[in-house]
């Protein structure tokens, strides 16, 4: 089924098209394991399943929202002005960062106001996300899909959601592996970040098998 779609991934009915975008963003183009973006929190917050879960959810949420906002900014402001000579490619980098930073600030305030429990489950990870390059990466890769073909708001939503879910899957997998590593059976020089990077490398190799599945 999926192999069949691979020939013309975006031409099917809407539901199929969105599914393809989602799976592609989450698995084939897994932002962490195929592009190695967002490594810093990936390595530092993956010690326990519980905090990895909170961090992962926060990334899913922020990526989904910021990709949609940035898509609107790009599709309705930057791209229409490009024919007039506006350097949309350079401007997007600056504007996307500003949008992400403001959005994270806003969400931190909002979550703390709405539910203090949610704030402690999710909100404490938000400041870490402002500087998470996976978030910016998702918005920038989204743009490469927009240019040259139809890529609507729903597509962007699913793409952002997929990218976030991909990051979530990766950090949960790593946290699962790390919680089972017995530190004393690891050579002293490789304990901590060393063995974690090796694990991440093996996971990345495993994800290579998804590469041929769908290509946006």
């Amino acid at each position: 089924m999926i192999a069949e779609l691979a020939s013309s991934p975006l031409d099917g009915p809407l539901v199929m098209r969105l599914l393809v975008i989602f799976v592609s963003a989450a698995v084939t183009e897994n932002i962490l394991l195929t592009r190695f973006l967002g490594m810093c929190p990936f390595l530092s917050i993956s010690r326990q399943m519980r905090s990895a879960f909170g961090m992962g959810l926060a990334v899913v949420f922020v990526t989904t929202c910021t990709v949609v906002i940035n898509w609107a900014l790009y599709a309705y402001v930057l791209k229409p002005l490009e024919p007039y000579g506006l350097p949309a490619e350079s401007l997007k980098l600056i504007l996307f960062i500003v949008v992400i930073a403001a959005f994270v600030q806003f969400m931190e305030m909002a979550i703390e106001r709405i539910s203090i429990r949610l704030y402690f489950a999710l909100g404490i990870f938000l400041p870490l996300i402002t500087v998470n390059c996976a978030i910016l990466g998702a918005s920038l890769f989204m743009v490469t899909h927009v240019s040259g073909r139809q890529f609507g708001g729903w597509d962007a939503l699913l793409y952002g959601f997929g990218a976030g879910v991909g990051w979530f899957i990766a950090i949960m997998l790593l946290a699962g592996v790390r919680s089972r590593i017995k530190e004393d059976s690891v050579p002293a020089a490789l304990r901590g970040p060393g063995i974690t990077l090796i694990v991440a490398g093996i996971m990345a190799m495993a994800f290579v098998i998804f590469q041929g599945m769908i290509k946006l």
Binding site: Y84, L95, V98, M109, A110, I116, R117, F120
Partner: protein
């Protein structure tokens, strides 16, 4: 086909768009902050109306109380690690936070205790705090004297400047602020028992033992010198002489000397003739201090006996006094403890061992008082 604009117009357009987006976002954030982070004025009712505090919401309970001049003991400076700043919150505290859970026992949770540096003042609160915390103030003082008692224990005397008088009872402690220095990025507070008698109320004296790697003791030993200005707050603690007239056993080690050096001088000044035996434990002769002063007091006061003991005297110590672990010495001296009161000050290990021993001697838990160092 549209014509590209002039280069200067493009620059203007790009700058304009950047500014517009940034301005819109900044405006949104300002509005959000105005309406979402603003909790208005909140009322904190302390001890059933004993004090009503009107404060701007949004800060932590610990911080809000501090701005109102109520100092809750806190060693870690509000980072949620030391768990000293527990306060009873009767109303308005909200659900228990994940950051509080590890710091509270099930009984404390059932007893409405909360970690005051973690909960924020978001609405009106009703809290209960120990009465004596109302008397706690922040003091500025100047180091009048730092002298060596042993190779790793110093006596520190701080003359108070503002306020210039501190009323306390023997056995209470203050929190000394170690400012940011060297590798220590932010101020921390550490508790030290006062060793001067309460009559000496314009100064704070304390006995500090160097803890290897300790932030505050390293600062006292290596960075603090006479004439330096310091900040402290207090007095705290309910370790003090009881109102009864029972015979007392005091057991201390190292800088656990502090409260007893205050108490014995208070008792001597006030003519409190209460039978007291003071066991002081050390390893070698070089770990003992104030020996002459206490021996002299014991000679003058018929009701006071001082028994220093060494657990492993060195060859050159020429030690003729008691030898053995302090618990062994106490064990030898007391046969029936049922009418005694025990006072313990020192490391957690020493206190537990001494407490266990006193139990076997018939002292019930309500007659044993201690001040445990962490």
């Amino acid at each position: 086909m549209v014509q590209p604009l002039q280069p200067w117009l493009i620059v203007l357009l790009a700058a304009g768009i950047s500014c517009a987006v940034t301005t819109v976002l900044a405006a949104l954030l300002i509005v959000a902050e105005r309406y979402m982070v603003n909790y208005g004025t909140c009322t904190i009712d302390v001890n059933d109306g004993a004090r009503q505090l009107e404060i701007d919401g949004g800060d932590t309970l610990l911080g809000s109380l501090k701005t109102e001049g109520i100092f809750i003991p806190s060693a870690c400076g509000g980072r949620g690690t030391c768990s000293y700043c527990k306060v009873k919150v009767l109303e308005g505290g909200g659900a228990l936070l994940p950051t509080e859970e590890p710091l509270l026992t099930a009984e404390e949770i059932a007893d409405d205790l909360r970690v005051s540096c973690q909960i924020k003042v978001r609405n009106d609160l009703k809290i209960l705090i120990p009465e004596e915390l109302f008397a706690v103030r922040q003091y500025r003082g100047v180091v009048e004297r730092i002298s060596d008692l042993t190779y790793d224990i110093k006596e520190l005397r701080i003359r108070l400047i503002e306020p210039d008088t501190l009323t306390f009872v023997g056995g209470q402690y203050i929190q000394l602020e170690a400012p940011a220095y060297g590798d220590n990025p932010e101020p921390v507070y550490r508790a030290y028992s006062m060793s001067n008698p309460p009559s000496d109320d314009q100064a704070v004296e304390t006995i500090v033992r160097l803890v290897p790697g300790g932030i505050c003791t390293t600062w006292v030993f290596q960075h603090l010198s006479e004439g330096d200005e310091v900040t402290l707050n207090g007095p705290y603690g309910d370790f003090r002489l009881s109102d009864s007239n029972r015979e007392m056993i005091w057991i201390a080690g190292g800088s656990g000397m502090s409260p007893f050096w205050s108490m014995i001088r208070y008792m001597a000044e006030a003519d409190i003739e209460r039978k007291t035996t003071y066991f002081f434990g050390a390893v070698q002769r070089r770990d003992l201090f104030l020996l002459d002063e206490l021996t002299e007091l014991a000679r003058k006061l018929p009701w006071f006996e001082f028994i220093p003991a060494l657990s492993a005297p060195g060859e050159h110590d020429a030690w003729t006094g008691q030898t053995g672990l302090i618990t062994e010495i106490v064990d030898r001296h007391i046969s029936d403890g049922r009418e005694l009161e025990g006072y313990l000050c020192g490391s957690a290990g020493m206190i537990e061992a001494a407490h266990d021993l006193l139990r076997t001697k018939g002292l019930t838990d309500d007659r044993v008082f201690y001040d445990k160092f962490n």
